[in-house]
Symmetry: D2
Subunit: 384 residues, 4 copies
């Protein structure tokens, strides 16, 4: 889509389409701190455009409601909050209709801006960032909706239509990559996040990397052969996590009358042996690899080899911590808080998942989460 | 109302009338553990009639949904929950429409029962208990709705019509009660809870008790003269509570530009000096009394004197712990869990409040909460 | 002992005799917040005499070390602490020898005072309070030493000599007390704590009270018949306590190869069926009574009947919350913090235990602890 | 020292020499979870030789006390503990004399073994590992003793002799390293840990690295210009750490009457402007670097440049997460738990400190701690 207004409309519409199957009540709850209420995602992505685009750049723009600033701001301490502090999951107001009105108000402003203004480079860049930001929240909407409904005792389906998962079996095939100097990092002219910049050389030693993702069948062997009960496969912190959480299988798996079921966006279903395992923490991915006598690839290995295998079904945990590339510089101002300040205690995931918006990811994309997180559509690719 | 079906309809309707001003989103949230979502109150009071009346006593009654049993059961461990455990505040389903359908289904059953059945004493008793139970939840709906909206940064009003508070000023008048034997506990033939039964004699020493409640004007002096900063007025656990919570005024009070405002069901308003102070914990009530060089009455003193003063605007903290009367026996079965198991670590409140349903309370009524709780419409009557 | 100097010397010596079997290392540790290191008890009881007697009343008294004031003060916030805050269980200094030197310094001051000064009533009273205070800490030394050694995996004995426990079996005999007016509270001319004062009338209804304490044999039936697994016998908060703590027997009981053992001050020994059960929380005492279809006595019932049964082997949980007697007034100043500020959320125990210093307790004595505490030598007497 | 028995004796003696200034009480306490009681370090290092050398390899060796196995085992769940679980900081027994007797017993066994046995490679290796392990605990003894005494309100000195710190001022000089391929990892024939093995190539881009450590003078500027109050310099988790801990200066620094003092092993002293800053967390090191507009070096950069600057006064935080080198393999058995299982959520420190035992560290040594830890003698070297 070469027209930015069309792009804007398409991205914004998709966000709302994702929420269409929800009931108003589903928009409100926040069962754990990492999951945000859908209402909040809708408001926050509008707030981004209002704050970074419309207020500074659209003459005569009227702020929708000054109080929304601290309700939907994910970045800053709630400065200016005179009376009460806020807590995302306990907010029944602004209500869902208000939030859609807010989005509509912002959309009108953006349309007016995009129809009437010659965008300079900076403005164009921040709008593109806003669209990529909204696409990230589209994926979070899927993961958070799944968490909200999948932790409800009625296990309601998000959609009866079914969300298609590609069937595929493990081929067992490995790719051998030769020792030498490789270049990684973003290359080209399109959009990328600041954390991908600074394309640079790395020296890799010879390694093998699997052409396919680990399947449920393979992971089930690990489960059934006692992988969750043997400390030798786990990091010390991973073992603490297993014990304190009582983990014995991936998130959303339930053993019902001796059969392994899992909650999907279409409701509770039997685990499909040939599908790639999903909703795995880094701790589980690393333990599985250790049990196999293998390891996870580093992010440089992954990127160097990525053209030679299919990826995009699961975010793939790497064995790389999320750290700055050589020469990394934070952007100035609030936007500079986007990535750099999270560069500690998180692990990099590469690829994309079935929940990632089309065209959003790329080979150099660096996703990152804490090692205990399972609620993303995350899986495993082995290396050695 | 002498007809039990009319009574039933009136009580059930009032519950839904209380919820009428809410938006769907307001029904869902649970900002702290003691506050339940309105949706839960609606479902739980229907569950009571379904479980203790309809399922055992109405031939052919069809249970609305077997899963509602553990969603709306406040009493038991969630037995039978095979797959996931539940958490009141994180439940977007059953949704609000479902819950009203559930109530309607139960109401149809109850109407059929009451129109066609000659009630025996046991059935009559459990239905009356159910109605009193629902009236308790009517008051909790007011307190919980106030908490939900009063902790939202937008401070939305529950109703624009205004909730009238009787104005009255402290008279300073005290009543002297003579030393001697008094009788307390329920007397008469109507309904009461098991914890009021066992009317018995107590020996009271001479005491004075105020004819009026402590006003905001008086309480404000305590606030402004440093009552919250001087440990000498507080129980040791009360002082810890003040420090850890940073308390410096009653719940819902906010000092805005040097003026004391408080959140009411009609929104943020100026504190009225002549109104009785409200939303006070036992710790605060006891500290205020100590600052005055006085004390709170015991529940026996309160009941002995209650015919000689007006009560009903605020639940009045007493200096009595919630303990069984001589000869107290728990009822058999699940209903026996109603009161007895809470008889530790809670303090008795007497009277009623502006949020109590008409006719629900009586002189012998024993309300009880933990000493730190403020979200009830609770106030102070002094004694010495 | 009619001479106060002799009394002083005897009490002080007993405290040190209790500590004589300890190793230096035992003086230091604090395994849980309610247990204080023996070193702290030794210093704190000296600090009491230094602060409330010697500094105000002995001309020329030289404070041992100004910093000890906040190390050994149990009452106040650590005012004056300029550099670092303290934590009883992490203090290796002052070391044990320093603390004994501190005690000796205070003893010299007290001896000089008592040999040279005509005591006025106020001074006499505070010294007597100090001795009773030290006797309370003598019992705490036993309970805390038992906790420290009894939670060490080596289960070392405190003394090989054996601590004698009177053998006695349940007689099953009950005493019937007639309905009527009784007087309770301290009577006489000796020492008592402020919480016992205000002898007053209470009206009691007829009740039966056991002439003997519940034995291990009886309690073991409760354990073995599933008392800890049936929520019906427990307060709601008691049931939470059982589940979160995993309690299944009294403190210090261990099932070893199918036999019930318990840690005693002489080391691990078999549980003696005929001895009164010990180290019971209020929650356990109340649950046991409910299982028996009986109840615990109130403190007024206990005191009214106490002349007609033997007591003194176990602190006996009553079903009375710790609250002020009619007309209770706190003493002025720091000493006034002794009792009144604890009058919430605790239950009264009556009697005395095998660990109580001879002559320290009396019929009107009101001991008090939170309902979950087990580390005192506490037991059960039933009533109905 | 070419004789392994002499080496053994020298290392073991140094451990005890470090403890010589302690009082018995100092051996026992554990103020925070990361700090172990000195008694535990003494026992644990003896347990290492008993468990991995004497029991498998010395015929006729008599275990000192089978219960010590779970008291002094840092690695495993306390299997076999039948009666009570243990907690390092609450153990008054085994007492200090017992622990020294244990060490002496082990030393006799080791002497007998080393005097009578021809060591094979495996045995030689494990003994060398044991000595390096003990040297690591020598440094931990210093850091833990400093923490124990430095958090005591009396701020007692460990030694009056003074621990000499080299004075040196920042030169401001930087070293430029050329882009290209470097090799890192252990090289040579002596001892190293498994995490240093797998010498491998890395590709480095041109960088500058400081020839000297950041001094107190420089760090003080950061403190006084508000570095701890400006979120922009901090990782998000670092900023949470600052706020929750209330950090405003390095560990052990106290502002006393307007002057910066710090606790040292010789007691409280003025902060010396020219000494390298010490007791800095990774969060602080990274924030300081950001404030300077610079960054921390990676561990590969550090190692590549290390021959060209002086190091050894402070452990130097790098911007590298602790992760396996290419081809890293855990050793088999219990010893394999030494390093690999900690490779998540920790950052690498390079160099050595004034508290490191002579000869213990080397250029390829990889030390690692969590980013919030301050109690090591850690400092900052800048890069860009």
């Amino acid at each position: 889509m070469d027209n930015i207004l069309d792009q804007y409309k398409a991205v914004r519409k998709l966000t709302e389409d994702i929420c269409a199957p929800l009931k108003k009540e589903d928009y409100v709850v926040q069962p754990v701190v990492d999951v945000s209420p859908p209402k909040w995602h809708l408001g926050h992505t509008a707030w981004f455009f209002e704050t970074f685009v419309l207020k500074p750049s659209l003459p005569g723009y009227r702020e929708f409601d000054p109080q929304y600033n601290f309700v939907f701001n994910s970045y800053y301490e709630t400065v200016g909050a005179r009376v009460v502090r806020t807590d995302r999951g306990n907010l029944s107001r602004p209500d869902v209709d208000d939030v859609y009105r807010y989005r509509s108000h912002v959309d009108q402003g953006m349309t007016r801006l995009l129809e009437t203004t010659e965008l300079d480079a900076a403005l164009s860049e921040i709008i593109t960032l806003g669209l990529n930001h909204e696409q990230q929240h589209q994926e979070l909407l899927y993961t958070d909706i799944k968490y909200i409904l999948g932790h409800n005792p009625l296990l309601p389906a998000y959609t009866r239509q079914g969300v298609s998962y590609q069937q595929h079996d493990a081929t067992g095939a490995y790719l051998t990559m030769k020792e030498g100097i490789y270049e990684i990092g973003f290359e080209g002219t399109g959009f990328c996040f600041d954390n991908e910049l600074g394309r640079h050389k790395v020296y890799l030693h010879e390694f093998n990397i699997s052409k396919s993702l680990v399947t449920n069948r393979e992971y089930l062997e690990f489960v059934e052969e006692g992988g969750y009960r043997d400390f030798r496969y786990w990091h010390a912190e991973g073992w603490d996590w297993v014990k304190s959480k009582g983990s014995a299988a991936p998130l959303y798996w339930h053993e019902v009358d001796g059969k392994w079921m899992h909650y999907t966006l279409s409701g509770l279903q039997e685990v499909q042996p040939a599908a790639p395992v999903c909703h795995i923490s880094y701790f589980e991915a690393a333990a599985f690899a250790a049990w196999k006598g293998m390891r996870l690839p580093t992010e440089a290995e992954w990127e160097a080899a990525a053209d030679q295998f299919n990826w995009g079904e699961r975010w793939e945990w790497t064995n790389s911590a999320y750290l700055p590339y050589p020469g990394y510089k934070r952007a100035a101002g609030a936007v500079g808080e986007y990535n750099g300040k999270f560069m500690v205690n998180q692990m990099v995931l590469r690829g994309a998942s079935v929940a990632t918006s089309a065209g959003h990811s790329r080979k150099s994309y660096r996703n990152f989460f804490h090692p205990q997180h399972q609620w993303q559509f995350s899986g495993i690719r082995l290396a050695e």
